[in-house]
């Protein structure tokens, strides 16, 4: 089984080298005339005011939270889906109960208004 992953490892290395080539080429080909204004943060010509950390809502966290829980659900359910032929009907129903319990979580978040982008 490891042998099937060797390809992925080498692929990752090569996939890292390929985008590097044009960037390195650009380093030699492109002009480089930096000045203070050019290197400043781009903000439509205005100087940046205050911290970069502005306006963060808990809403981002809530979405990530619901995503995390469903990610876990997917991790649990993929083996169940793969082994589908070997499972009797009640085992399938157990998987469905699993989905329903987490569906309840989604319903709760919905009713609570936690999914609104306010």
């Amino acid at each position: 089984m490891q042998n099937t992953w060797i390809f992925v490892g080498i692929f990752a290395a090569i996939a890292g080298v390929f985008p590097l080539l044009p960037i390195v080429a650009a380093r030699f080909l492109a002009p480089s005339k930096p000045n203070t204004i050019k290197l400043d943060t781009y903000e439509c010509g205005m100087e940046t005011v205050g911290d970069t950390w502005v306006q963060f809502k808990v809403q981002y966290y809530i979405y990530a939270l619901v995503f995390l829980i469903f990610d876990l659900e997917v991790a649990f359910l993929f083996p169940w889906a793969v082994a589908f032929d070997m499972l009797p009907l009640f085992a399938v129903v157990e998987g469905i109960i699993f989905i329903l319990i987490l569906g309840g979580g989604l319903l709760y978040a919905w009713r609570k208004g936690a999914l609104e982008w306010s």
């Binding site: 996939a15 390929f18 044009p22 943060t41 589908f84």
Partner: protein, 395 residues
Amino acid sequence: MSFWQDPIAVIGQLILDLLHSLNLPEGWIVFIYTLISVVAVASFGLLLVIFLIWLERKVAARFQDRVGPNRAGPFGLLQTFADMVKLVTKEDVVPEKADKLIFNLAPILSLIAVLLIWAVVPFAPGWIGTDLNVGVLYIAAVGSFGILSVLMAGWSSNNKYALLGAFRAVAQLISYEVPMLLTMMIPVLLARGMGMVQMVTVQDTWFIFLAPAAGIIFLVSSIAEIGRTPFDLLEAESELVAGYHTEYTGMKFGMFFAAEFLHAFTVGVLFAILFLGGWRGPGAEEIPILGMFYLMIKGFLGYFVVMWVRSTLPRIRIDHMMAFNWKFLTPVALALLILTALLDKIFAGTALRLPALLGANLVVLALGYWISTLMSRRQAKERTKFKKRPVAKPA
């Protein structure tokens, strides 16, 4: 087997023979052979990008009643090369306040994340990088590096617009990953396996006939994943300048650009593999090059739909987009998963499997459409409730 029927197998055998004749140890032969195939697959992906950018510009032009690039080379085919030369020779500005290392790593990572998907794409019978037994999940895993690269780009730029754009983008990407993962599970369930080769070989009837609703949801959430219109809020120019890659110039911007285009086509190919039978088609088993042809046709079909949607629909508002995902796509995907599991277990191996699954999907689609129209009607009613607003007084 002749060269014209299966060129990859012939060339592969040739390389293997050559390596064996050099009397290298077995490990080295495997390594060099793998390296060559990796380079072949990866450069195929990158060369594809050049063609895709040209194609997209041509197609978008036709949608808008223009001609598109037509000066450089025949039909403007060389336009993308010209653009590439331009990008390479552009000055590469790294903002002073940026976190240099992360800033430079992010575009590379975003292209890696897309390119890695091609390691498990079955092009034709026997033409596949590697047939992982967790293929479908592998695709999802690789996608999470793309999300990380967005976050890295946005944070390291140290720019308000970039950071805000990155956070919005990540919120959108992770939200739409939920229905995407759930609908990816439905073909896995129908195929009883996650390997990409198995996925294709079991599709005697294409899964789009067994699970049309899942296919549609997959395509929609994938369009959101690549951040194309109508879901292009990641780079809504009017609100966020250019989103998370505001500070990027030259070739580094080009990396994000290339990654987006390749991702769009990859989505088409994945849709073809999961729902349209991959390389399956008349005569593909005997003549693998035909299979490659079929896969590309199907992939371009999916890609064309993506482009079509892009040039047809306007951008939607971010709260609508989130509501559409969490209150519509995700519940429907969950319901589909439950229905598919139940019906497939009950009718497995009988002639009723196809009509039962198809019927259930169509019912879910109809119900979903009905509910969504109800919801939009209710929203319209709420909108028309007149709220008294303060009238601007002349100063």
